[in-house]
């Protein structure tokens, strides 16, 4: 630990063969005065090293709550996890002790939050906050921690890092603050980064800089990345595979190219169709009718059924599981699944 942020990382464990993170049948509920809000209802996904999984969904779809459950930063109560497993390198983190979990958080799995200004402590310098990672986890001395903080700031390309290490968060612009968040997440060279809407608060030109930086560092460190977003554009740019969430469930999974070319769930199709396209100027935009459901009163059957153009009687009664999506001749499509009874029709729909 003499040279900070060594890119060769000799101390690092051998690449893990299976999925780094494997979430299985995760349920999260919030107990509120008005009843139990089921925010996450049986989510399954996995990420390998070097892979980018995008979790796409609107507000209230449970995408952030899932991430918080993985990080172990949910307030419990009011939240509770009645069922499910979150396996990190094969070990279920939900069955771990507090201390064991703490050793993973930050060191193995790190998180980047949406709003850097409210995620950074306003009364501590960014250098102190970056150095804190090393002091808390490795017991590094103050002086050395500061040097490492400067190196980290240089890695995320903050100009004049040496001069700015003692500056406070408010003295940085939005894009620079998000870089500091990224630096903090990278500090302990985690295996997996969860980025919750990392560029939503940024302007497009800055958003491009930050996403490029994140993708570059991910490739360099061969990390897994879970990108949580509602932006179909950002997803198309960086994701390898996508999980689309609606009302606490994953409604579709697919490799990125396939999802955009041939969605197999009416909700995904609706989202893609509601993007303004050049050839539709002057015409009415396609709009998914209705509103996302209230989590206290998720519709019976398929949660999307009141808004779905394809809904039949079966959709109002039975909850569709995530069916594997295949070609007409039965050839399996790797990584594809759709929680719709009519995925075949949707796949061919146009």
């Amino acid at each position: 630990m003499t040279t900070a942020v060594d890119t060769t990382k000799p101390a690092r464990e051998a690449p893990y063969e299976g999925p780094l993170l494997d979430v299985r049948d995760l349920h999260v509920e919030f107990v509120t005065r008005d009843g139990v809000a089921r925010a996450v209802n049986g989510v399954n996904y996995s990420v390998r090293a070097g892979e980018t999984l995008a979790v796409l969904g609107e507000s209230g779809s449970g995408k952030s709550v899932t991430a918080q459950a993985i990080m172990g930063i949910l307030d419990m109560p009011p939240a509770r996890i009645p069922r499910g497993e979150i396996r990190f390198r094969g070990q279920d983190m939900l069955r771990m002790g507090r201390e064991e979990r703490r050793r993973i958080r930050g060191r193995k799995i790190a998180m980047i939050f949406q709003d850097a200004l409210s995620s950074l402590n306003p009364v501590l310098s960014v250098g102190f906050q970056l150095g804190e990672m090393f002091r808390a986890h490795h017991g590094t001395s103050r002086k050395e921690a500061k040097d490492k903080a400067i190196e980290l700031m240089e890695r995320v390309r903050i100009p004049a890092a040496k001069q700015r290490v003692n500056d406070y968060p408010h003295q940085f612009s939005g894009g620079m603050r998000q870089r500091i968040m990224i630096a903090m997440a990278l500090a302990l060279e985690p295996d997996l980064i969860i980025a919750d809407e990392p560029t939503t608060a940024l302007d497009v030109t800055v958003q491009a800089q930050v996403m490029d930086l994140l993708a570059e560092l991910q490739a360099e460190y061969h990390m897994g990345l879970i990108l949580i977003t509602h932006d179909l554009g950002v997803v198309a740019d960086v994701a390898d595979k996508i999980a689309v969430m609606y009302a606490g469930r994953i409604v579709e999974t697919a490799p990125v190219y396939e999802l955009y070319a041939r969605p197999a769930h009416p909700y995904t199709r609706g989202l893609l169709d509601s993007i303004p396209r050049l050839d539709q100027k002057g015409q009415e935009l396609y709009a998914i009718k209705g509103l996302p459901p209230n989590l206290l009163r998720i519709p019976k059957g398929c949660a999307f059924n009141p808004r779905c153009p394809r809904a039949q009687d079966v959709c109002r009664v039975e909850v569709p599981e995530l069916f594997p999506v295949t070609e007409d001749d039965g050839t399996a499509l790797a990584g594809r699944g759709s929680a719709c009874f009519f995925w075949k029709e949707t796949l061919h729909d146009r």
């Binding site: 390998r48 070097g50 892979e51 980018t52 609107e58 507000s59 612009s173 939005g174 894009g175 620079m176 302007d203 497009v204 030109t205 800055v206 958003q207 491009a208 800089q209 996403m211 490029d212 509602h230 932006d231 179909l232 554009g233 950002v234 997803v235 198309a236 740019d237 994701a239 390898d240 595979k241 490799p255 990125v256 190219y257 396939e258 955009y260 070319a261 041939r262 609706g270 989202l271 893609l272 509601s274 993007i275 303004p276 396209r277 050049l278 050839d279 539709q280 100027k281 009415e284 935009l285 396609y286 709009a287 998914i288 009718k289 509103l291 996302p292 790797a334 990584g335 146009r350």
Partner: protein, 387 residues
Amino acid sequence: MTANGASALGAVPEEVAFAQEVPRGEPILEVLDLVKHFPLTQGIVFKKQVGAVKAVDGVSFDLMKGETLGIVGESGCGKSTLAKVLMNLEPATGGSVRYKGEEISRLSGAGLKAVRRNIQMVFQDPYTSLNPRMTVGDIIGEPFEIHPEVSPKGDRRKAVQDLLDVVGLNPEYINRYPHQFSGGQRQRIGIARGLALKPEVIICDEPVSALDVSVQAQVINLLEQLQGEFNLSYMFIAHDLSIVRHISDRVGVMYLGRMVEIGSDAEIYDHATHPYTQALLSAVPVPDPTARESRDRIVLTGDVPSPANPPSGCRFRTRCWKAQERCAVEVPLLAAPSWLDGPARHESACHFAAEREVGQSAAEREVGQSAAERENGQNGQGGTGPG
């Protein structure tokens, strides 16, 4: 569903001032060299001005009757301040705003009230722009209280219910409070309030950016439908370039308090000549993974400079890859460059204005292609994703 609403609005008597009709396609709002500086002061008792935040610094444009003018730009470029100055919510420091040929930027009292009746605003955040302690009926009916001379005679409640119907909300909701509605519904309430006085111009400041993706399209469609129905002129301020393109007839691009380029939607999106517009368009993530490789993205370095101390000459020069010495000395004027022809010849404030193949338009074409492939019943793009 809108027939009732139209008749309710029809019940509003014609106003006295500004009665003359502006024909479609003629300017209804003319903005000339508009300036808004916020003073920076020092000292407590004897305040002295030590500088100014030049939020809007010499902006000129016309808004035509019945058109939608999109204004795009990053945060801090002055687009929201521009809206506030046009509404007279902030007094202008200089320049002029003419509504139907009459100067309105220095009006007060009755004259200002009459103008505000005709220029309404829809705000960005439907959570903070509606009073939580007022019912929907009170919120939408409040404009009638303020302007009794144009309020419907007789049943005001009926008029409010008709307005709710116009914007696609259940008229029964009249006694509910804002917190009982979702974001998209609240934005509809904001739009209904804006429509109440039958304005001619509506300034929409980021009307959909706080909404979920699946709800944005609903509100955009509503705005377009209302425009046709009531012959409204929109100034549509947003940072989402694809939505602006969809709704706008003309688009203006702002950077650090100045308009850097303005033209028809095709001129801006397909034939941008200002480097900033080109960078902005190229940075927009395209919702199509097949465009990844073909994208030619300009990644700008650095951040927007402070509007309190903008660079001399061209304000974009500190981030521009084309910048020369001339750019630091001479302020480029917003004018059609004489050295360009065809659609590239539209107003652009750059000494070296020239077209470039912009990522957005190239990628948009790709989107069209993949859609066409899909139609042909092909198997779409490639097998599995990389990695």
